[in-house]
Symmetry: C2
Subunit: 355 residues, 2 copies
């Protein structure tokens, strides 16, 4: 198909509190080694750069996370780190990344937009799906949809429609996070896929769609692009960009999007309970990480980070216990999303050192 | 009744792991402020010395706890601290304390043997019961039995028999910690009392009973007493004393013991679940101590010691969570006694810094 170059835009701007107390404002989820030895972003960078080449793998992050990202990715070429002057949502971040790629390789450059904070079990299949999606990116906006394995209520879904060719479909519609009954129906129906947040298109197409659906953003991007001092203009104008995701700002408003279904052990690691799906379990279904002692414990996730107190757990089932040096979380696995209640309380009492 | 002097022997030799991770080998339960502002032993010393006078309140402890006890009891006269050369059980400790009291006030001195690590809610009633028990101590061995308020399986019991006079009974028998059904039967029967571990007798009677039932101990005590250098003899001979409790070594073998029933909010604080009985609860039945954030939590005991991480708990019922600087415990309240499983595992892996 297209002979244009392909670049990856790894999006690493996220904050997020769902993995508190390990994740903090200054240490977002993508910097955590939730999958094992390396951080999620280092694993993502490795996987993506093995497909596209290190020189064509860009990372977009907020200015205040630049130092941490550089430490996490020593192999990232310095010029491949695109810093948002202020943290905005994925819509503006993708726009800024698209300008950087187009500057190097022209507007027909194909882009793979990749979240930095997902876990992937099967890298070979992932690489295959990425390659197929990029092949279509010259002629359409493409996404990757994950074959669901459970009635997950924490993810967005998309419904696939007409086949375009073997293994590629039109997207019939995007849908928001469903309730439990709806998620069960989606799983049974067979034609619903999890929204992976990966998108593929040319820089030209992205900028065109921004002009149509996010004109405020498009105007700012055009100013930056036209400026003799793009960095100064970005510093001055980017903070005014709308705080809108690329899903909501563009993808849900465009028709003719295609989806490549993928099945490569993808996990968004959206809460501590997800560790039970991506890490080895003992015979009683527990995931234990760090300095942990358990007695008669089943189906639980128990984590003691380096520097944390030892964690001793006795006689519980389905519990999450996470200890860091300065905070401990205890919550049932089925309610792990509710860590927000603690974070909100700490924010309300201005315990910024714990956020 | 008797005009002889009365001395208290507060027994502070205990180690114990039931309050781990707050209690450690170097910081046994009696040094913890489980009842509130002051340590259990400081509260005990205050209560007892207000009845008997500070000069007549002795504390018996193991040599390696002397420094910690002095820090906890700045008002204890220096000469009133009786140090066991090596930690033995309550049988030898009472014997050593009895020698010290007899040395000052003769063999007819009446002794109140008081554990250092119980919580008492009603000091006035406690003082009344102590006074009644001491009145009888010249003519009999006396104990205080606590009116049970629940079918507790963690305490020993005694059955009261024939009344001696108003509020004083013969002890029919001592019984070990019962199972749940037996404890329920004891509670319903009305004539069973909790064994408080408080005993009252003269020094002469104690030494006579030791000679009859713990002859090895009695021989060692006699050697110490006869020596020109009692301290040196104690150092040489006391470590050979049998490691036997006064309950098992003497009380369960003697007949004619009397009991004064007491009802003064006594609690042995035998596990973390007991905190729910002695500390104020919030509207959902929780006891929260220290830097704690809770959301939708009921019937739980959540403790963050000074220097510990913040503890955030969401969506649990009947759970114990205790954090110290270097260890965290999570266990259902109903299984709080099983903290031993963690302590045993740490001991097996020689994690002495956590014991």
């Amino acid at each position: 198909m297209s002979k244009s170059q392909a670049f990856a835009l790894i999006l690493a701007g996220g904050g997020g509190t769902r993995l508190w107390p390990a994740s903090r404002r200054s240490r977002p989820k993508q910097l955590l080694a939730l999958g094992g030895a390396e951080s999620l972003i280092a694993a993502t960078f490795g996987r993506v750069s093995r497909v596209l080449g290190r020189e064509r793998t860009l990372v977009v992050t907020a200015a205040d996370q630049v130092a941490a990202i550089r430490r996490a990715l020593p192999e990232l070429p310095a010029e491949n780190l695109v810093a948002e002057p202020a943290a905005r949502n994925t819509g503006p971040a993708v726009g800024l990344g698209a300008l950087a790629a187009a500057h190097r390789a022209g507007d027909d450059v194909r882009l793979a937009v990749i979240p930095s904070d997902a876990f992937i079990a099967d890298e070979a299949e992932y690489g295959r799906v990425l390659t197929v999606a990029l092949e279509h990116a010259a002629e359409a906006i493409v996404t990757v949809g994950i074959k669901p394995t459970r009635p997950e209520t924490g993810y967005g879904y998309l419904q696939r429609g007409t086949p375009v060719r073997e293994g590629v479909y039109e997207v019939a519609r995007f849908v928001e996070k469903p309730d439990g009954a709806t998620a069960a129906r989606y799983l049974a129906a067979g034609d619903y896929l999890w929204n992976s947040g990966m998108f593929f298109f040319t820089a030209r197409r992205l900028l065109d769609e921004a002009a149509a659906h996010m004109p405020d953003l498009a105007a700012i991007l055009a100013e930056i692009r036209a400026s003799a001092d793009a960095a100064a203009t970005a510093n001055a104008r980017y903070p005014a960009a709308p705080n809108i995701s690329i899903d909501y700002g563009i993808m849900e408003k465009v028709s003719g999007i295609r989806v490549v279904p993928g099945d490569f052990g993808w996990n968004d690691v959206g809460s501590w309970s997800a560790l039970a799906d991506i890490r080895p379990q003992d015979g009683a279904g527990n995931v234990a990480i760090g300095d942990v002692v358990m007695s008669d414990v089943a189906g639980s996730v128990v984590v003691a980070e380096p520097g944390a107190p030892l964690v001793g757990v006795v006689g519980v089932d389905g519990l999450v216990v996470v200890a860091t040096k300065d905070a401990v979380l205890v919550v049932p696995k089925a309610r792990a999303q509710e860590v927000r209640a603690v974070v909100d309380a700490l924010a309300a009492s201005r315990r910024n050192e714990l956020l």
